[in-house]
């Protein structure tokens, strides 16, 4: 009995499931304790929920990016997808369409962008970096052309506002939705054939084809997944702001990659840790929040985040070399 419990407990965190970055988990705990002393206000319930809510958009997209990076791919178009999807949703709400339809419209935009990314990469044969970078620029361009740089405001349908602004048992709804997305992604990545296909492609693309994995289809599906999750983040953000900002999600592609990498998923593919990604996304939000609480000039935030990325990856390298 104890033995089974032990394997169960271990399994989501084992190497086979992507490992995770023990050093980062430790650093995270140390940081939280230190914060408790340095800024007592950090540990108030209101502040903690705020931190989580700030982590939401990056976390949601990063769960999808964990699939892409585990597959040895990359997607730079996530921030633009978020903006374009948010814009479409906001527009539909302003025009008076029903809330479910407006949300579905935004998410469909994300799915289409993901589909285009996937087809460009697999069927046209453009490198993932270049293809998604081009789509990133094009999508942002469409947003700017449509909005002329002016936010779309007035998406304040009460039902729509609920998505991003209400609470259940004191916990913000977006945080609950993010937890649900995490659970589904976790199941798909570690407990379905699709998840194994994704990580097999990342581990050895030639061997993946030779064991019968339809690699093109899987790749396209993964890019669609990221597109949908980016769009979902866009809907959440729009609902919270009751508006669509033309510059929404700018630079998110790098924050998302940072969250994934800090969590312990390597860019070399084959291994991916969703749990680590969640920690990475929250860690970045905590750092930003803490720097605010400690009255550090916001311009320093970038320096700190960059340093954390380097330390996290270096720690991961080091622990892996120790094992080998």
């Amino acid at each position: 009995m104890a033995d089974i419990a032990a394997t169960r407990l271990r399994s989501p965190l084992t190497l086979a499931r992507g490992g995770g970055n023990a050093g980062v988990y430790l650093a995270f705990v140390v940081l939280l304790v230190a914060l408790g002393f340095a800024a007592p206000r950090f540990f108030t319930f209101g502040n903690l929920t705020d931190v989580l809510r700030q982590a939401v958009p990056i976390a949601v997209i990063a769960f999808g990016a964990t699939f892409v990076i585990g597959m040895r791919g990359i997607d730079l178009s996530v921030g633009s997808t978020l903006a374009l999807s948010g814009l479409v949703t906001a527009n539909l709400i302003v025009l008076g369409y029903p809330v479910p339809l407006a949300c579905a419209g935004g998410i469909a935009v994300g799915a289409v962008i993901g589909l285009v990314n996937g087809i460009l990469i697999t069927k046209v044969g453009i490198t993932d970096f270049i293809a998604t970078m081009a789509i990133m620029v094009i999508s942002r361009g469409i947003v700017l052309v449509y909005t002329q740089g002016i936010p779309i405001v007035g998406a304040s349908d009460p039902a729509f506002r609920m998505i991003g602004q209400s609470y259940v048992g004191g916990v913000p709804v977006p945080v609950i939705l993010t937890a649900i997305v995490f659970a589904i992604a976790f199941y798909v990545l570690y407990y379905t054939r699709f998840g194994r296909f994704v990580l097999s492609i990342g581990s050895n693309p030639d061997a993946a084809r030779l064991v019968g994995i339809p690699t093109d289809k899987v790749k396209i599906a993964v890019y669609v997944l990221v597109g949908v999750l980016s769009a979902f983040a866009g809907v959440l953000l729009t609902s919270r702001l009751e508006a669509a900002m033309p510059e929404a999600g700018q630079g998110y592609e790098l924050d998302v990659i940072a969250a994934v990498v800090i969590g312990g998923t390597g860019l070399s593919g084959g291994r991916a840790t969703l749990f680590g990604t969640a920690v990475g996304a929250v860690l970045m939000a905590v750092v930003r929040n803490a720097l605010n609480l400690l009255n550090v000039n916001t311009f320093w935030h970038q320096v700190v985040i960059g340093t954390i990325i380097l330390i996290a990856v270096a720690a991961d390298r080091f622990s892996r070399r120790q094992k080998a």
Binding site: T7, L199, S200, N204, L210, V211, G212, G270
Partner: protein, 511 residues
């Protein structure tokens, strides 16, 4: 000093781990001489050439060029000593033109400083002088080499060797991918180089062809020299005989008779330029060997049956029914399995454990929708004990296993797909002797269960010991099908280097 040979290698030895790749090789080369170097795969030819070019460091022995002992520890040392090697996969920069490639790393400049601008016109003139003047070939000088034919690229490699004043030129399988006319051209150039006092080492599997070019032949077997004779004393049979030698006694399980009903029928399968009109069938329980030289189409044939590469015409029948296979996914659905030769690049998923690697080709056995970790452990443990895989259970990293045990996991992966047709490419490559015997037993057990088995191998002794029949491929065709129990290695080797004889052509019917 003047009488010293151009090149003298003495007592060269090299080990890789516990295996002796070379053991006490002596090699002498005089100006104007063309030495043919032959041996089976793994005999040590390429190791010896890599030591000579400085790519590998030798463990023992001395190398002297023009009577002076030299140390060849890096490729740069090799070229400084006047040794140039032209590999099978040519090593040119595809986006540079001929002149840029010939002078790559030794660019001519308009001044003495290393920052001086490149003198493109001087390089182009020199390139043209070597290619047109000395070699007498018309190679386009202003196009990137990726647009040139293989033959032209080879000429550029040779020009590069000449321009660097190399006196010893090594050619590794230079005619493998050349057309008849291009080959003739190459032989003419070899003659010219010979007359200019250069010495050449010519490595090739094409014995007949080689005997027409070289002045002396050195035969390697298992890391040692077994013959070093002038070409006048030799013929194809003698060379092949020396290459094979007394075959090692291996542990083959006793043959089990095949059943009569055919399982796989291949009819007129053709991929233009690769293999042509291949027809054969394999019965349930039969093990068919396929041999042939590198490039004879044996590997491409298996990959075409598996749907990894498309074929042009012809059909594949399984259990008498037409099988539409356009990719490996289809093949696996039709219960066709394929174990590729390159385990590292085409087989294992290195970040994952034994259970993952074992179940990946048939994940449905782990659950319809949700994959059950418990089921995975059960199945993997079952195969681990059944196949005698030595590892720390299903959760052990695949890379922690020895080559032989990794290969057993690969075999288990395909047995789990319940194959009707099991195709194995070099199933014992990189596997030690003991594990080899175990792999043979497993292959035969699969046949006994009713699989039609095809084994491609460069090891003819293995094919004769394991298989019922062996098909020999030559330049994309089946040149002979022999009964394994009554044939000799020499027969297979001869058919591999000779064009098909008329009466062998009916080839592939089973029985």
């Amino acid at each position: 000093m003047t009488n010293a040979p151009l090149l003298e290698m003495k007592g060269i030895a090299k080990r890789f781990g516990n295996t002796k790749a070379l053991d006490g090789i002596d090699l002498v080369l005089n100006p104007g001489e063309v030495l043919g170097l032959v041996g089976e795969n793994g005999a040590g030819k390429s190791t010896l050439m890599k030591i000579l070019s400085g790519a590998y460091a030798r463990d023992e022995g001395t190398i002297a060029v023009r009577g002076k002992v030299v140390d060849l520890n890096t490729p740069k040392d090799g070229s400084r000593a006047g040794i140039a090697i032209i590999y099978q996969e040519l090593s040119l920069f595809p986006d540079f033109d001929a002149a840029e490639n010939i002078f790559a790393g030794r660019e001519l400049r308009r001044g003495r400083l290393s920052a001086s601008p490149l003198d493109h016109s001087a390089m182009r003139a020199a390139a043209s002088r070597i290619l047109k003047g000395e070699l007498g070939v018309d190679v386009p000088l202003d196009r990137p080499v990726r647009e040139l034919s293989l033959s032209h690229r080879q000429m550029i490699e040779i020009a590069k060797a000449i321009s660097s004043n190399a006196d010893i030129i090594i050619m590794d399988e230079p005619t493998e991918a050349l057309e008849e006319v291009e080959r003739k051209q190459l032989f003419a150039i070899i003659k010219k180089l010979q007359q200019a006092g250069k010495a050449l080492i010519y490595v090739s599997h094409r014995i007949q062809e080689l005997l027409g070019i070289v002045s002396r032949v050195m035969v390697l077997r298992d890391g040692g020299t077994v013959a070093d004779l002038p070409v006048s004393d030799l013929d194809v049979d003698k060379v092949v005989g020396a290459m094979i030698g007394g075959s090692l006694a291996k542990q083959f399980p006793p043959r089990v008779p095949a059943r009569s009903e055919p399982s796989l029928d291949v009819r007129g399968l053709t991929k233009r330029g690769v293999f042509d009109d291949i027809t054969f069938s394999v019965a349930k329980g039969e093990i068919l060997g396929v041999t042939g030289l590198e490039g004879s189409g044996k590997s491409a044939l298996l990959r075409a049956i598996f749907g990894q590469i498309p074929h042009d015409t012809g059909s594949i029948l399984i259990d008498g029914k037409q099988a539409a296979i356009s990719d490996p996914t289809d093949a696996i659905r039709q219960h066709v399995a394929f174990l590729p030769a390159e385990r590292k690049t085409e087989g294992i998923f290195p970040q994952h454990n034994v259970g993952w690697n074992l179940s990946i080709a048939n994940l449905r056995t782990l659950g319809k929708i949700t994959l059950m970790p418990k089921k995975e452990r059960e199945i993997a443990s079952g195969y681990i004990s059944k196949l005698g895989v030595k590892c720390d259970g299903a959760a052990a990293d695949i890379t922690s296993l020895s080559g032989g045990n990794q290969q057993k996991v690969m075999l288990a992966r395909w047995l789990l797909t319940q194959p009707k047709v099991l195709m194995l490419e070099e199933p014992t490559r990189g596997v030690d002797v003991r594990a080899k015997a175990e792999v043979y037993t497993l292959i035969q057990a699969a046949a006994k269960d009713g699989c039609a088995v095809i084994v491609v191998s460069a090891d003819n002794a293995e094919l004769l010991g394991l298989c019922h029949r062996v098909a020999v491929m030559f330049e994309g065709r089946i040149s002979a099908v022999v009964d394994a129990a009554t044939s000799k290695e020499e027969t297979l080797a001869l058919h591999s280097v000779r064009p098909p004889q008329g009466h062998h052509l009916q080839g592939g019917t089973h029985g």
